[in-house]
Amino acid sequence: MENIIKLEFVNKSCNENLARMAAAAFVMPLDPTCEEISEIKTAVSEAVTNAIIHGYEDSVGMIRMDGKIDGNTVEFTITDKGCGIPDISKAMEPLYTGKPELERSGLGFTIMESFMDKIEVKSTLGAGTSVKMKKVIKK
């Protein structure tokens, strides 16, 4: 089974739901369990929320979600062209948040890491961030 999607949307918070739903619908042909669907929706929601609020802060910008299915592995890459992350390893520490004033919990990356099998973060200051996440859907 091979498949790809590209989804682009404005950084409006109402599009968090859209991205989650699209991710869930995309993975359906692999016949995932409810738990696997939940995990994917949650991980995608975290990455998209980060792009919306951290990537672009108060400015308007586009976010892209690329989905790929290869065999029984699904991969999502969420990309923004926002501010970038100064220190990726610090950003990925559990409970670290750059926005405590927005009541962020600092758990986004922790959830992505524990719900997906592999996560890869690339970021350039002033140019943007991309988060690639993979998960094998068990047969």
């Binding site: 918070s13 109402c14 968090e16 739901n17 989650r20 939940s38 929706k41 949650t42 929601s45 975290e46 929320t49 919306i52 609020i53 927005l102 009541e103 962020r104 919990s105 758990l107 986004g108 922790t110 959830i111 524990s114």
Partner: protein
């Protein structure tokens, strides 16, 4: 989402009716804080029985209300938590700080 004030218990009951993501969290926070400001409430009970999806933004809202009610001398209690949300809550460790109940009655007794 809808809010109900039980004046004699100084408690706001929040019925969340949608996915609790960053989008919903922003609205929820505003609505609950406005109600706390305009009433005598010091406690917040969140009804999670219709929440099929929550991400870490939900943890932020709960923790934020926990801090506020603590200052006021009150409590946050949540009830009716389903499987997906329970997993996020347990991952966050906030179940060690706030009370998680099965029903509204039980929640009101913890206030």
């Amino acid at each position: 989402m809808d809010l109900k004030l039980i004046g004699e218990k100084r408690t706001i009951i929040v019925n969340i009716k949608e996915d609790l993501d960053h989008h919903a969290a922003t609205e929820l926070r505003k609505a609950v804080d406005a109600k706390i400001k305009s009433s005598n409430a010091i406690n917040v009970i969140f009804n999670f029985s219709k929440v099929d999806f929550m991400d870490s933004s939900g943890i932020g809202v709960i923790m934020g209300r926990y801090k506020i009610t603590k200052i006021l001398g009150g409590k946050v209690v949540i009830y009716g938590v389903k499987k997906q949300a329970r997993r996020i809550i347990e991952m966050s460790g906030i179940d060690k700080l706030i009370c998680i109940c099965d029903t509204l009655d039980e929640s009101l007794q913890k206030i």
